[in-house]
Symmetry: C2
Subunit: 392 residues, 2 copies
C-alpha cells in the first residue's frame, strides 16, 4: 500500500571518482501522492487540558493529535497516519538539521456563527506548498488528498477549535528532508506532518497599528533566490534583524530592496499602501510577484476583493521609500498595512527609516484595512457566503 | 552545575496587544559557555562494525559516539555529554524544523605518518561557528572548550580514524534551535551536537577535475544576506540547482553574482583562479570576503601559503566571466580550482556558460593546485611541522 500513487523514479546514478555517488531524480515532482483513503487513525488515550481562551499565545499550544506521512525515494509516499501529538525521532545527520531541507504552510480553521468549521482557500496553500517542495527538492503530492486528511485531523480535534471571537485553529503543514546522511544533495527520505494549535485574537480592540524598522542594510530576498517560496531558509536570517528592530523600539522589520529602497514585505507579511498616487488617482499598491515576495493568500484575496469593489485602482508594482516620503509630505498616503494569515491585516503607524520616524497615515483613520478585515473575517466566519471557504 | 559560565540575560519582555509576547535578549552573544571540565561520558555497549576503507561514502558512516550540550535561555549551557550515537527527539513545532534555526561546521581529524591524530586549525572553525551563531540568533560559547570536548570525543572513537591514504575522520559540529514553539522569533532552547564519520579519499588518482554549471539566473548569496555564514539556510536553495547541473552533465554549480557575472563560489567551496592578469602579472585571484562568500579555512590557508611562497601575486577581489573568457582566448588562464575542507583543492576542467563549454586550463597542467594539495596534506598528516595542527 505504501507504493500507491508512486511512480518509478528516473534516477541517474552518477559516480564521481572521488567516492561520491550522486543520485539524481530527473523530476522529483513525479513523486506521486499519498491517499486520504489510506488514512489510519490512532486516537490519544491522554487528552490534554485546553488553554484558557484569553491566554492563547501564538504557537505555544497544540492539539492532541497530528498527521504524518513518510516518503522515501525508493518506496514513494506511505500511508497517512493521524496519531497522538508526539516528538519526532531524527538522526543527528538528517538534512533538515544541517541544510534547511524544510518548508511549511500556515492556514487556519474558523468556527463560524453557525458553529460549523471552515477552511479559507486551502487549495491555495496546497499549490504553494507543492511549488515550494519542488524548489526545495522535496517530494510533491496531490493537494486535494492533504486537504482531506487535514479536514479529518481537525474533526478529530474539533473540540480544540476556539469559539471566542477572532480566535481560530492554526494549521501548520510541514515537510522535512530527514534521511540520515550528510552532504548537500537530494533528500532520499522525507516526512510530511501537520500540527494544529488554537490561537487567540490578533486584535482585541480593533486594529492595533505597528511601528516598522526599515534598514536597507538587511536584505530578505534577491532575484535568483527563494524569497517567493515558503522555505525554512527564508526565516532564520530574519531573527537577528527582528531583534534589532525590537532594540530600536519597533515591532516589525520593513524589508527594503534595491538601491531605490523598494518596500517589499513586513515581518512575515506582504505589504500594501493605499494612497493618492503621483497621477492623482486613489490606488492600492503592493510589490509584484517578481520573486522577491511571498505570494500570500491574504495578499491575493485583498487584491481580488478590491478589484471586485472597483472603487480605486489596484496595482502590483514596486514602490519606493522616496515615493512614500514624498507622498507623506504631500498628505497623499492614506494607509500602509501588512497582510497575512495570522492577522489578516496589520496597519502601520510609523516607519523608522534613516534615523527619522515617519508617521503613517498622513491622513485619516485605517478605514480600508478595517474594511478588508471585516470582509475577510465575515467570509471566514460564515457571515457572508463565499466560494473561498470549505466546510470540514 | 548547568549554570556554570552562564550570565543573567538582559531580557526585554515586550507585549503586543495582539497576544504575542516577544522576548528579546539584548546580547545573545553573552551566552556564557559550557566547560570541558564538566564533560560526562557514557560509552556504548553496542559498538558498530567499521566500514571497509575502500567503500567509504561521504556522510554515510558515523562513529559509535556523539557529543551533545543543551542550552536554554533561562538556564544557559548545560553539561557536555559524550554518549552513544542516537536519534534526537524533537518536538514537531521546533524552530529548526520550520525556520532553519541551524548552523554547522566541517572539520577533519587526520591520522599522521607518526600514527598521531591531528586537527587542522580547529579554532578557526570555532570562531566561524560563533560568528554564525550570533547571526543566526543562537547561543555562542567558548570555542576552546568545544575543541577540548571534540578532542575527547575523537579519542573515545579513535579506532574510527581511518589509516588508509587520504582518508580522514570528518567532524560535524552542529547547533540547532529546538524549542517547541511556532513563530519566527528567538530560540529559547538550543542543542549543540557533534557527530563524526570516517570519509574516504577524494582523489584516488591525483586530482580529478570537474565540470561546472554556471547559470547567472541562480544566485546563492547577496549583499545584506547571510552568504558568509555557515547557516543551514544557505544550502537548501542550492539542491535543486545542483540537480540542474547534473542534468546538464556538470558536476558542480559555479555561483555567479551581479550583472557582470562575478565568480564567487563553486558547489560548497571557495574558488580560485591562477592566471596571468591584464597587467601581465602571474596572479592567484579569489573573490574577497565581502559578504558573498564563505570565509573558508582552506581558502585562508591557501592564501597564507601562497603569500609565504611569494612567487606570484595573491589578490582578493571580484573577477568576472568576461575577464575569464578574454583570458582563456589569450591563453592566460593557468588553473581554476575550488578549495574546501572536504577535498582541499578541486581543479576545474570545464565551465558550461551561456550554452558554451569553456575548457580550462587553457595552458598547462594543474600544477599549482597539486602543489597546494601536497602542502596542506603534508601538514595535516604530520609530514611537515606547522603551527596549524593540534594533536588530540
Amino acid at each position: 500500500m505504501a507504493a500507491i500513487g508512486r511512480k518509478v523514479f528516473d534516477k541517474i546514478s552518477y559516480h564521481l571518482k572521488n567516492g561520491h555517488n550522486v543520485k539524481f531524480v530527473r523530476n522529483i515532482s513525479n513523486s506521486g501522492t499519498f491517499k486520504y483513503a489510506d488514512l489510519e487513525i490512532t486516537t490519544t488515550t491522554n487528552p490534554q487540558e485546553k488553554p484558557a481562551p484569553e491566554k492563547l499565545l501564538f504557537g505555544h499550544h497544540f492539539t492532541d493529535h497530528m498527521l504524518h506521512v513518510d516518503w522515501s525515494m525508493s518506496k514513494g509516499w506511505g500511508k497517512p497516519h493521524i496519531g497522538p501529538l508526539q516528538n519526532i525521532s531524527i538522526h543527528p545527520a538528517a538534512k533538515v538539521l544541517h541544510y534547511g531541507a524544510e518548508l511549511f504552510e500556515g492556514m487556519k480553521a474558523y468556527k463560524g456563527i453557525d458553529e460549523k468549521i471552515r477552511l479559507f482557500r486551502p487549495m491555495e496553500n496546497m499549490k504553494r506548498m507543492n511549488k515550494t517542495a519542488e524548489r526545495c527538492a522535496l517530494p510533491t503530492f496531490d493537494g486535494t488528498e492533504l486537504v482531506k486528511c487535514i479536514k479529518k485531523l481537525i474533526s478529530v480535534d474539533a473540540d480544540w477549535v476556539p469559539t471566542t471571537q477572532n480566535s481560530s485553529l492554526y494549521i501548520r503543514p510541514t515537510l522535512i528532508g530527514n534521511d540520515p546522511t550528510l552532504g548537500v544533495s537530494l533528500s532520499h527520505n522525507a516526512m510530511l506532518f501537520v500540527i494544529l494549535g488554537p490561537v487567540g485574537s490578533y486584535f482585541t480592540t480593533g486594529l492595533d497599528p505597528v511601528t516598522l524598522f526599515a534598514d536597507p542594510k538587511y536584505v530578505r530576498a534577491w532575484p535568483g533566490g527563494c524569497g517567493n517560496y515558503k522555505m525554512g531558509s527564508n526565516y532564520a536570517p530574519t531573527v537577528q534583524v527582528q531583534a534589532k528592530a525590537v532594540e530600536s523600539n519597533c515591532h516589525q522589520v520593513l524589508w527594503l530592496f534595491g538601491d531605490d529602497h523598494q518596500l517589499t514585505e513586513v515581518g512575515t507579511m506582504n505589504l500594501f499602501m493605499y494612497w493618492t498616487n503621483e497621477q492623482g488617482e486613489d490606488e492600492l499598491i503592493t510589490h509584484p510577484l517578481d520573486g522577491l515576495v511571498l505570494p500570500g493568500i491574504t495578499r491575493s484575496s485583498l487584491i481580488k476583493v478590491a478589484e471586485k469593489w472597483g472603487e480605486f485602482k489596484v496595482t502590483e508594482k514596486p514602490y519606493t521609500m522616496k515615493q512614500v516620503i514624498k507622498a507623506l509630505k504631500e498628505n497623499r498616503v492614506k494607509e500602509i498595512f501588512g497582510a497575512g494569515t495570522a492577522c489578516v491585516v496589520c496597519p502601520v503607524k510609523e516607519i523608522l527609516y534613516q534615523g527619522e520616524m515617519l508617521k503613517i497615515p498622513a491622513v485619516g483613520e485605517p478605514k480600508l484595512s478595517m474594511r478588508f478585515y471585516d470582509e475577510l473575517t465575515d467570509i471566514q466566519l460564515g457571515k457572508k457566503e463565499s466560494e473561498w471557504t470549505e466546510l470540514i
